[in-house]
Symmetry: C2
Subunit: 421 residues, 2 copies
Amino acid sequence: MAKPVNAFYAQSGGVTAVINASAAGVIEAAREHPDVIAKVYAGRNGIIGALTEDLIDTSQESAADIAALRHTPAGAFGSCRYKLKGFDKNQAEYERLIEVFRAHDIGYFFYNGGGDSADTCLKVSQLGAKLGYPIQAIHVPKTVDNDLPFTDCCPGFGSVAKYVAVSIKEAAFDVASMARTSTKVFILEVMGRHAGWIAAAGGLAAQQEGDAPQIILFPEVKFDQTAFIDRVRQSVEHNGYCAIVASEGLQTLDGRFFSEAGGTDAFGHSQLGGLAPRLAELVKEKTRYKYHWAVADYLQRAARHIASKVDVEQAYAVGRAAVEMALAGKSGMMATIVRDADTPYRWHVGEAPLAQVANVEKKMPREFISADGFGITDACRRYLAPLIEGEAYPPYAGGLPQYVKLKSAPVPKRTGREFTI
Amino acid sequence: MAKPVNAFYAQSGGVTAVINASAAGVIEAAREHPDVIAKVYAGRNGIIGALTEDLIDTSQESAADIAALRHTPAGAFGSCRYKLKGFDKNQAEYERLIEVFRAHDIGYFFYNGGGDSADTCLKVSQLGAKLGYPIQAIHVPKTVDNDLPFTDCCPGFGSVAKYVAVSIKEAAFDVASMARTSTKVFILEVMGRHAGWIAAAGGLAAQQEGDAPQIILFPEVKFDQTAFIDRVRQSVEHNGYCAIVASEGLQTLDGRFFSEAGGTDAFGHSQLGGLAPRLAELVKEKTRYKYHWAVADYLQRAARHIASKVDVEQAYAVGRAAVEMALAGKSGMMATIVRDADTPYRWHVGEAPLAQVANVEKKMPREFISADGFGITDACRRYLAPLIEGEAYPPYAGGLPQYVKLKSAPVPKRTGREFTI
């Protein structure tokens, strides 16, 4: 029987409320196979940790701390926004990876990220064929943008979806109470520069005709100011108020980002603020209604306190599955979520070849957006509803969630060489 | 024994995650004394409901629905921002109140609000002496601003405090993960135009030296840009990132609101956006650090999903106590929270005369703010920590909290007269 080798695991891109659950899945599954995987070394700050030989020895973390990753948001090992170039463009980086992997006896590579990371993972899986260092590379999907192909959904998305649906439901109760003498329009800006999945999830809050949000603004639907203002007025007249979920990626009719279309101020600076304050200004100008707006930003993707149980379970499952796929001899693959049924929701973990995954974005289908462009369809609701099911509360002490901070002990360096990125 | 009379209850000012728990306390306590209080009529949209004879018959709501108010945010009966003028300035309003109260046999008045509402409640308590219509008026305290005197804290505040502490803790985990190649500074804008209580609560997230938030900006401390930027740089150098909680009421050195100090754009419009984007712009200009910002706005005060258990219990208790005070023959009083001990936290409900409460604002004591002006002291922590203790999750179905919408059946009008406000 072959001597066990080490595994490399890293987190990449924007972090989520559940990416650490995937880390727990990888590490716990690996620990069950000490005959094959000796230790899991985590890259500090993603692939940068591999390039700079900045590795964390996860074997020094207790089982309890690794288990606590299941309820701890963000990237416990640090993430990065760093995409490896092609083999032809920057061979030095690949040679450095091999140098580090060889020095630390790394035979498995688990990369936890979105589309760009899938591309990095694919390239690592090709190190054997291209540069003679065989390594099994498996991608663990993660992105709040929900835009990876082949998987029914992306771990991280379900929890943002739940946060947005809960938040707009609550804020709409608030504005409905205030509307008689005060605020009549409320705007919640959410993430989604290129796809409206997150904004769409706000639509789950509406359970009956007239329920908030009365308007959803998608990046997929060019912004028609007149139709929008008409709709705001209608809602205020019929419901007393109007609650709006707006995707940060909303575009003007001529295809610019609405949030950047405001020009510059007297000093030549771009006007401050994002989409929500601009929309609010438009509402005020056209209707004189009193408004409030919120920008959820990182709060939405870090909100482990209101994570979706389904999402936590899926994030953990794809982490475990990645290890099992590697143990089965696979490489250049991504673990995926396969939906078996909508109601009651059933799913299992499948797989897809990275060559087909990398750099493909899954857009929202047009049939998920209502004909008027301001809401979601029943088909969209059937797709989204299961993803926010269940609560998975973290433990609390003194009123605060108890998130784990790992020891993150560095692995002693062995290459004797610095590498500048 | 006297024939039972009806009670009037209404919600006033900005609503909270727990004001409906006070409503439940009032209504449930009243239902236990049908020999004294026949029915509770709620004003639709606060005192406006009394002036316009727009009353809701709460006796038509089931016990289950009234109990569900304990876990439903915002104002179930609608709120208003409307302050009664003095007796001498607008006697017509007081005569109208008496007309409506008399027509509906109302002998008790429970008003659920902040400082302005305490003033309204005081005036109603004087209707007997001034205009010959005796009515017992008890104030039920509520305000996220935590600025009412005589009470240890204000129901509504503890839940916002918890939301802000949890949110900055989570977002700081996020920015810490991203800081190596991306966002280094995160700014969360919170409520508090005149007092820094809510911003201070963010400080509870910091449990060890160096923990986020590394900077808190209070309305009580004039904004020193240079000291602030120095502090941001220090935090990024020491911790890798900087998480900031900023009160919307932050003021410039010359006493203007920082959020309004940006001037106008080329078209003469005020620059868009609130405090957070302006601060972010400043950070970018001075440090070039990549930043993100969030504005919590209504999300923070509507966030029943992460309400403080202590807060929910106190909100309910002051509602019940108000009825008990009225039954004991009291009037012109406010129910208060009295702290018996910090650790473990013990409290009971007390009372204070409205004549001393009305229009007095309780500021944050200077000794609650650290010497450098950017953090909270241990004394502040001892005061705040108990207020966010415990979780009081609402029930969920299909991934969403199940908040109640009442039937809100109108009481048939009897005065035969319209009243325009």
